[in-house]
């Protein structure tokens, strides 16, 4: 694993006896104690995840808004300062190159967070489509750490560390100081739980991580993160969304703002939107305890192949076996029965409403 990149928290993970695996060119913790106990910690208390492998691009220049308007599925001019927005970045055919969050610092400065596995591709795509503009990209992925603090007690934990922290609404962020260093705190996450994602300099990240643990946060790996995001039915690039899936098929139309003259693929997406979709994303629950895995075949009741599983897992929060996938038969809907072929056996499943898990709105106070 010598060629793998290491985050500034790498030694902390080793000291905590995490199981490390290669992920998107980085050596990352997949679990500390167990995936199930880490999931439970996030749903009932709080967990922390090292997500420093994700890309962090500061975009600046007089044409920063204009350049992003060409590329992103949301209108950067309409984002407020201090606000972040989930969006997809599509290719010329409307396929999803990546999903990302864009944070607006001001009209001339943004922070874009692509996935680790797509960061290089997104850099090239943004670069080549903003050629003639006053538009600079400063990549700080390797100079900074990013820690996700997720769970019902996450706000209380932050209050212990930052006593004067103002309220941060969902998808808003603030810039503050920790030990004299700049810290960005965004109320975002990938678990379906209330939480924050915190960007800070490498040299304070280990100390900050330890403080979070001292305040009751459980160390969690990417394994738990994947289960939690599936319970919340949040798409994973490479699984639910790929370069041959458009945002309408992926049920992401609410993150696509059309009728913008600068948006490069405005007409392409308008066209796709006006046509009938060839497939749609569904959530399903397995009847029984087998677990569907990505690429398992989905069939209808007459044994006809109608699609494929994109993600599947046991859900510890719901004590059910759940999954996501695409089907071509639009007559099937919630409560319809389907069959999933798992290791040559036909296993009964039922289409269900997604997200599978939705958090209760009230926050729990830390004791």
């Amino acid at each position: 694993m010598d060629n793998l990149l290491k985050t500034s928290l790498h030694q902390t993970h080793i000291d905590s006896k995490a199981k490390l695996v290669p992920f998107a060119g980085w050596e990352m913790p997949i679990q500390y104690s167990s995936i199930l106990s880490e999931c439970k910690a996030v749903r009932t208390q709080s967990g922390i995840f090292d997500v420093s492998h994700m890309g962090r691009f500061y975009i600046s220049g007089n044409d920063a808004s204009l350049g992003l308007d060409k590329i992103l599925s949301v209108n950067p001019f309409m984002i407020e300062e201090g606000q972040g927005k989930y969006n997809v970045i599509c290719n010329q055919n409307g396929g999803i190159i990546d999903d990302a969050i864009v944070y607006k610092i001001n009209n001339n400065k943004f922070l874009l967070i692509p996935n680790a596995s797509n960061a290089d591709k997104i850099y090239e795509w943004v670069r080549e489509n903003t050629n003639n503009l006053d538009f600079n990209i400063n990549i700080v992925t390797k100079n900074t750490a990013m820690i996700a603090l997720q769970g019902p007690t996450s706000r209380a934990i932050l209050n212990n560390i930052f006593p004067d922290l103002p309220k941060i609404k969902r998808f808003r962020f603030i810039e503050t100081k920790y030990n004299g260093k700049n810290v960005t705190i965004a109320r975002t996450g990938y678990t379906g739980e209330n939480g924050f994602e915190i960007i800070l300099d490498n040299d304070i990240s280990q100390n900050f991580w330890e403080i979070l643990v001292k305040n009751g946060a459980t160390e969690c790996g990417l394994g738990a993160r994947d289960v939690l995001r599936l319970e919340a039915a949040l798409a994973l690039h490479g699984n639910e969304i790929t370069e041959i899936i458009n945002p309408f098929e992926a049920q992401l139309s609410r993150f696509v703002e059309l009728d913008r003259e600068n948006y490069m693929i405005n007409n392409t997406l308008n066209n796709i939107k006006s046509q009938e979709l060839s497939k749609k994303l569904i959530g399903f629950e397995i009847q029984g305890r087998n677990i569907a895995r990505s690429h398992n075949i989905i069939k209808d009741n007459n044994n006809n192949t109608i699609g494929e599983v994109t993600s599947g897992s046991y859900s510890p929060t719901l004590s059910k076996s759940i999954g996501l996938g695409y089907i071509s038969d639009k007559s099937l809907d919630i409560h319809s029965e389907i069959t999933i072929e798992i290791r040559s056996k036909n296993i009964l499943a039922k289409i269900t409403k997604i997200p599978f898990y939705k958090r209760k709105k009230e926050q729990v106070n830390v004791s």
Partner: protein, 127 residues
């Protein structure tokens, strides 16, 4: 590190022989590589199984794995507790997490299994 009184297969199953009956399970090494186990599918008592062929499945949160029998014979008992407490496999792979008991058909099949020491070398060589 692996119990001395057991015999082991290359597919990471263990076997404990007692009066012609083999208690069979999967090793701590297998359990650790699978992670949290959430479902174990086993055949019913009375089923005949053959050495080194598959008789069940283990699903963990991250992966699914087939279980191979280290010995031939008839299943006379399955560990019913695993139905509701699959975590027994993670917590106690060599004791409470046993899978099945088999009436041994042919003692000579033991020759194809490993001792604890041999299994430990086998595991170390593979990782």
């Amino acid at each position: 590190m692996y119990p001395e009184n057991l015999k082991y297969s290359e597919e990471h199953e263990w076997l404990l022989e007692n009066n012609g009956v083999a208690t069979i399970g999967i090793t701590s090494f297998a359990v650790e590589s699978l992670g949290d186990i959430v479902f174990i599918e086993l055949p019913q008592a009375g089923t005949e199984i053959t050495q080194f062929s598959t008789f069940g499945e283990v699903e963990s949160v991250k992966a699914a794995s087939e279980i191979y029998s280290p010995i031939s014979g008839e299943i006379i008992e399955i560990n019913e507790k695993l139905e509701t407490e699959p975590e027994l496999l993670n917590n106690s792979p060599f004791e409470d997490g046993w899978l099945i008991k088999v009436k041994i058909a042919d003692d000579s099949e033991f020759e194809k299994l490993m001792s604890a020491k041999e299994y430990e070398s086998f595991v170390n060589a593979g990782s």
